[in-house]
């Protein structure tokens, strides 16, 4: 509390000393422009997706919806059966992958962060080595084939359970961001390693775990690669990200949605408008978790990345 006051005082004094000048305006404008560049496209697409097509083709900046708000494209998309099915697949895949991935990766990262224990350094090197050296696409395919994973749901979950990037971040977090004194005190108090992990370490790393869970969840939600490479085509296993990609590039999918819209009694919607509505549909879940993600940014992630 007092430190904050102190900081505020200094900031105020800096403001007085340096003054609010051209320099500030310059930075203000630059940052604002870049931020607009990041956000405006999504706004544009959102507005365009609810604008009647006759208005949309006239072009323009799409700052506000003109000619009324029209949800017909969303109706068309959600009346396509594979959309809902793929949502379920994606939810199942995301939940399973995230839970298992965070458990396995965090546990391993904690163990490996105890470098004084024999073998941990070697294991660490083995894990990190994989960041730079992999068998490659075809060897992966053949292994999954031998394991009987090809064309199954599990090929979208199991290979990614140990997430090497977040392993490194978590390991650094456990090594540097948990006060050593805390753990040592717990051990001296007669707490076992297990007790220390569950009663001391895990509670204080909660925000890091929450942040990383969300990051991993987003990765899994956006993943279509595992389906494209190792399943190829199996209707009831399509994840949403794949359906989305097909909506954007594959005309058979687009035609199916357009036909569906016709059977609802409306004109077949123009592909570009449908694409925009699809983009918005795909962004919604991310937008829902985004505020939580952001809250943990500085708290969780960065502490692990750089030594203090």
């Amino acid at each position: 509390m007092t430190q904050q006051n102190h900081e505020q005082r200094i900031r105020v004094s800096m403001l007085q000393r340096f003054g609010f000048n051209f320099y500030d305006v310059f930075i203000f404008v630059l940052v604002t422009l870049f931020a607009l560049l990041c956000v405006y496209p999504m706004w544009y697409v959102l507005v365009a997706s609810v604008t009647p097509y006759s208005e949309f083709v006239k072009g323009g900046l799409m700052l506000v919806p003109k000619g009324g708000v029209d949800f017909q494209y969303y109706v068309a998309i959600f009346s396509t059966r594979s959309f809902l099915n793929s949502m379920w697949i994606s939810v199942a895949k995301t939940v399973l992958s995230t839970v298992s991935s965070v458990f396995v990766t965090a546990a391993m990262a904690y163990g490996v962060s105890k470098t004084h224990v024999k073998g941990m350094k070697l294991i660490n090197a083995l894990v990190v080595f994989n960041l730079f050296f992999s068998g490659g696409l075809i060897p992966q395919y053949m292994l999954y084939k031998d394991l009987g994973l090809i064309r199954t749901f599990w090929v979208m979950v199991l290979p990614g359970v140990l997430n090497i990037t977040y392993f490194i971040i978590m390991r650094n977090y456990y090594s540097y961001s948990i006060p050593k004194s805390l753990e040592e005190a717990a051990l001296l108090d007669g707490c076992t390693e297990m007790g220390t992990f569950f009663r001391v370490v895990t509670p204080i790393s909660r925000s890091m775990l929450a942040a990383i869970s969300l990051f991993i969840a987003v990765i899994n939600w956006n993943d279509y690669y595992s389906y494209m490479m190792f399943i190829g085509n199996k209707t009831n296993l399509q994840p949403f990200a794949w359906v989305l990609r097909r909506m954007l590039v594959d005309q058979t999918m687009m035609n199916q949605v357009r036909k569906g819209a016709m059977s609802l009694g409306s004109q077949p919607p123009p592909p570009m408008a449908l694409r925009m509505a699809t983009i918005i549909c795909a962004m919604v879940p991310i937008m829902c978790v985004y505020p939580f993600l952001q809250k943990y940014f500085t708290a969780g992630i960065t502490l692990g990345a750089v030594k203090e």
């Binding site: 800096m14 163990g111 490659g136 060897p139 199991l158 990609r245 502490l303």
Partner: protein, 325 residues
């Protein structure tokens, strides 16, 4: 203290072996248990596929399987070197990564400094919210956006917004996505928009760790804010900058499959085809089933990447930052 005890214990154990070893395991059984599941996943899914690397030196026969296919030495690598498409993809990969380093990386640092210089705290956090956001959208969505904006006008429609603006300003519309000379710029710029905000997090954290008193005393000494950035802020984020630089350098031979695959088309293969997309096309992606060549390419990329990482990691360990190993 406890740690030191443990360390000396372990040395004793090493000397004694036998029952001591078991005691050691018993002492740390919980940590080993924690590591075990991850270890199994690593062994199966990360090291498991590595037996397949032998394909790079073999002629694959489905009947014989990977193990019993015939060795052909460096034949696949000879084919690889003789393949102009491989050379092209290789060159493109490196050029695109260098561009990303030159423009993307510097912009990240620049953006972090800009953000940290914003005075109004509330406004700063709004700006951060905005610039982090694109990172969480998939490349599929992002490439959809790119197409919506850069589409060239057809007859009877006004094209993407960018071309509408160009035309409104009296210029000639541009076929952005079909011009090979523009494609790399599009990759670099979209990459900046998508990832820059997120990349600043590390730097902003370092900046927030700087003692405000330093600025104050500098101000008393008569430094202006430009001086303060150069002499106070920048030196203090330098370790973070270096480690990020090294991380990025280590990916010199890797390419962003997701980005390129979603953005490229036949027009821009000459400048836009990268190794990962090429490997995909010749093995699983509709351009043939050349398993051996694709594995050989992957192997070469990995080896070269490892060499770069090995060299750079030596510099990291000299710095006061946590290396990746």
């Amino acid at each position: 203290m406890m740690v030191q005890q443990a360390r000396s214990l372990s040395q004793d154990d090493l000397r004694k072996r036998g029952p001591g070893f078991l005691a050691y395991i018993r002492k740390y059984w919980f940590l080993y248990m924690l590591v075990l599941p991850g270890f199994i996943f690593m062994a199966v899914f990360d090291y498991g596929p590595m037996y397949g690397i032998q394909l790079a030196f073999k002629k694959y026969s489905p009947k014989a399987g990977v193990w019993n296919s015939q060795w052909i030495g460096l034949g696949n690598f000879e084919r690889m070197v003789g393949d102009p498409n491989f050379i092209r993809a290789f060159r493109n990969t490196i050029i695109i990564n260098l561009y990303n380093l030159l423009f993307g990386f510097t912009f990240n640092v620049f953006l972090a400094l800009m953000l940290s210089e914003l005075r109004l705290k509330k406004y700063k956090s709004v700006m951060q919210t905005c610039v982090y956001l694109p990172y969480f959208l998939s490349w599929v969505i992002f490439s959809g956006l790119v197409q919506v904006f850069l589409e060239s006008p057809g007859t009877g429609d006004s094209g993407g917004l960018v071309n509408q603006l160009i035309v409104a300003a009296g210029g000639e519309p541009v076929d952005f996505l079909k011009r090979p000379e523009m494609f790399r710029s599009i990759l670099v710029i979209t990459n900046i928009i998508k990832t820059s905000g997120y990349s600043t997090i590390v730097y902003l954290a370092a900046i927030s760790g700087i003692d405000p008193a330093l600025y104050e005393s500098a101000a008393i000494d008569g430094a202006n804010r430009g001086n303060a950035i150069v002499h106070i802020t920048f030196p203090r984020i330098l370790p973070s900058v270096v480690i990020m630089l090294i991380l990025q350098l280590s990916g010199l031979f890797l390419s962003n499959f997701d980005q390129v695959y979603n953005l490229y088309n036949n027009y821009v293969l000459s400048t836009g085809d990268v190794l990962s997309t090429y490997i995909y096309r010749i093995s699983l992606g509709g351009g043939g089933t050349d398993f051996e060549l694709s594995t050989a390419m992957n192997l070469i990329m990995n080896v070269m990447g490892l060499i770069v990482v090995g060299i750079t990691n030596r510099y990291v360990s000299k710095l006061d930052v946590q290396g990746i190993f």
